[in-house]
């Protein structure tokens, strides 16, 4: 990982105030163009549309004709919309389940696979292989597994748990959890990679010292290793929450938010309102809600990042 190594020498040059005089003071026109073109593209296709969404969320519009300004009616409608509340509830379930299981799994596997032994490389590869599949592909894979005569039910049968078998994706009680399992399956490898990097940064002498002092492996993990992983924990937390608010592809592929909106997330409900029902103003209001929930985590991430930039 040459990248991290080279970048790991903070402030060799530039950035820091005492060295500021060494930064080229006269800025060539070309350099301004270098910055202006990408900045203009991002402003035009990211920031300007984002601002537009806020305006649109106070309007009623079906895509044709002129939008009608209706103030905050979209938002007040949201509060009495059962499907919206269901989606919000599902999003909470999703964020907690997705975060908890992928972090527990990823961290556990990272700890288990941190040591160099025979076969570790193979295990690691197998576990982060799903990460390279798109969420759409992951969704289709698991749709197959969840078919009534698919691998999941057949396995349950084989284990003598045939009575647990159900139509996982067509059953409103199980649909969201079934999708969650597929999403976690893909995410664990990613979290594991992050924690493996974090564990490499831990000081092994501290752990050895703890062992000498008679601390059990369990105590050493929680009291010695975990505190050293604080930075990774923060990042994993922010990334997981931002990711879980963005989740769309896998739900859309596996259930489309159904049956009866039982696996609806804010993102799928927003998409369906926007591109199926053409309630563009209402959909924008949902998008703004997603933004408002996400912004706290985005800012946390940015503040942390900007501190590291110093």
């Amino acid at each position: 990982m040459s990248i991290t190594k080279v970048a790991a020498q903070p402030n060799t040059v530039g950035g820091a105030p005492p060295k500021r005089r060494r930064i080229t003071r006269k800025i060539p026109v070309l350099v301004w163009i270098f910055l202006a073109v990408p900045a203009a593209i991002e402003a035009a296709w990211v920031f300007w549309p984002a601002v537009n969404s806020f305006v649109l969320s106070t309007e009623k519009w079906n895509g044709a004709g002129a939008p009608l300004s209706i103030g905050f009616k979209n938002y007040s409608d949201l509060f009495s919309d059962d499907i919206f509340r269901q989606a919000l509830r599902n999003n909470v379930i999703w964020a907690i389940g997705f975060g908890l299981f992928s972090v527990a799994g990823g961290l556990g596997l990272a700890v288990a696979l941190n040591r160099t032994r025979r076969g570790v490389g193979l295990y690691r590869s197998a576990i982060y292989l799903p990460m390279v599949f798109s969420l759409a592909v992951t969704g289709l894979f698991w749709r197959l597994l969840y078919q009534p005569d698919g691998a999941v039910n057949t396995t349950l049968d084989g284990l003598g748990l045939g009575s647990w078998a159900t139509q996982w994706l067509a059953n409103p009680d199980t649909a969201i959890y079934a999708v969650l399992v597929a999403a976690v399956w893909r995410q664990v490898g990613y979290v594991m990679v992050l924690y493996l990097a974090g564990l490499k940064g831990c000081d092994p002498t501290l752990d050895d010292a703890g062992a000498v002092d008679g601390a059990s492996p369990w105590q050493r993990f929680w009291r010695i290793t975990m505190p050293q992983l604080r930075g990774v924990n923060m990042v994993v937390f922010a990334v997981t929450v931002i990711d879980s608010l963005r989740t769309f592809d896998i739900v859309w592929t596996m259930t489309g938010g159904g049956p009866y909106h039982s696996s609806e997330l804010l993102s799928t409900y927003m998409f369906q309102q926007a591109f199926t029902s053409l309630n563009l103003g209402y959909a924008s209001a949902i998008a703004v809600v997603i933004f408002v929930i996400a912004i706290g985590f985005i800012l946390t991430y940015l503040v942390r990042t900007s501190r590291q930039e110093d």
């Binding site: 930064i23 992050l194 930075g231 989740t247 769309f248 592809d249």
Partner: protein, 300 residues
């Protein structure tokens, strides 16, 4: 990734001190290997089982699946599913579309963001830190807040339902992150190197092309591996800015395949394997870059 498109990225701490970089603890290396492997082998098998299952289904014939059920061990081996997916399922066209979007999008995004990163890291642009973090913030926004206005603007400038439109939004949305990572990397290149070039009379363009870009190769490779899979795997942008089935990339085409071949699971399985193959190839070819890409920017 989604996430999708994910925010498949992070900034964990990595070793500053090379002596920490070793793997694990010398003291308890290899303790109780039978327990370790006894736990890891079943777990790994469970992990790969879904993939194996899909592969098995993809190579069975439709009659075999219909007659003996999805989970029966295969007694047929045929490429029917793949033939059907390529033929009537139009997976070939969809894969072509994906490549036609992914390649220009990755090249453009990395070119533009390396330009911005060069300007921000090597020159005293006023407010450059704010500019950098604002650009990064744009990439962290939930895409939902952009979908409708982007589709609307695409429509008004004639880019709606064009592959180029999809390239534009992929470039614009990813740029903040790529710029941020490349900026961090370029900042670590000693200023003396470029100062020597300035003394020799080199202009900004020469320095960018001849010195900075070649030195950024590892960062560019990592970002290329990462952004290729992100853009190739995207679904939500394609569904938002494209309408014609003939222009849809592979992810969106899979949804269509699933609708069109409701109970022909061998075709669906074959199609999703074909969609998974390119990113898996990228992954195994650039595994080292890919992993360092995930940890990119993870300097401090």
């Amino acid at each position: 990734m989604t996430a999708s498109t994910t925010t498949d990225r992070a900034v964990p701490r990595t070793p500053k001190n090379p002596k920490f970089a070793g793997n694990g603890h010398a003291g308890n290396k290899g303790g109780r290997p039978w327990l370790f492997h006894g736990l890891m082998i079943p777990l790994t098998l469970i992990w790969v089982a879904p993939m194996v299952f899909v592969v098995l289904v993809a190579f069975r014939s439709f009659d075999d699946i219909a007659g003996r059920g999805l989970s029966a061990l295969p007694n047929t081996f045929t490429f029917d599913g793949f033939r059907e997916a390529f033929g009537a399922g139009a997976i070939g066209q969809a894969l072509r579309n994906s490549v036609l979007v992914t390649v220009p999008a990755v090249v453009l995004a990395l070119t533009l963001s390396s330009m911005a990163a060069f300007a921000l890291s090597r020159f005293a642009i006023p407010g450059r830190r704010t500019i950098l973090l604002t650009m990064l913030a744009g990439n962290l926004l939930p895409p939902q807040i952009l979908l409708i206005p982007v589709a609307k603007i695409m429509d008004s400038v004639g880019l709606y339902d064009t592959r180029f439109g999809l390239v534009v939004i992929q470039v614009a949305f990813g740029m903040g992150f790529y710029t941020f990572v490349l900026h961090g990397f370029m900042r670590s290149i000693p200023r003396e190197i470029t100062e020597a070039a300035v003394v020799d009379g080199a202009g900004a363009l020469t320095i960018y092309l001849r010195i900075i870009l070649p030195l950024c190769r590892p960062a560019l490779a990592a970002l290329a591996a990462l952004s290729t899979t992100w853009i190739f795997n995207d679904l939500i942008w394609s569904l938002s800015v494209l309408r014609s089935q003939t222009k849809m990339p592979i992810t969106a085409a899979l949804l269509n395949l699933q609708g069109g071949y409701v109970s022909q699971w061998n075709v669906v399985a074959a199609g999703s394997l074909l969609a998974a193959l390119p990113t898996a190839v990228v992954f195994f070819t650039f595994q080292k870059h890919f992993v360092s890409g995930l940890l990119v920017g993870s300097d401090k």
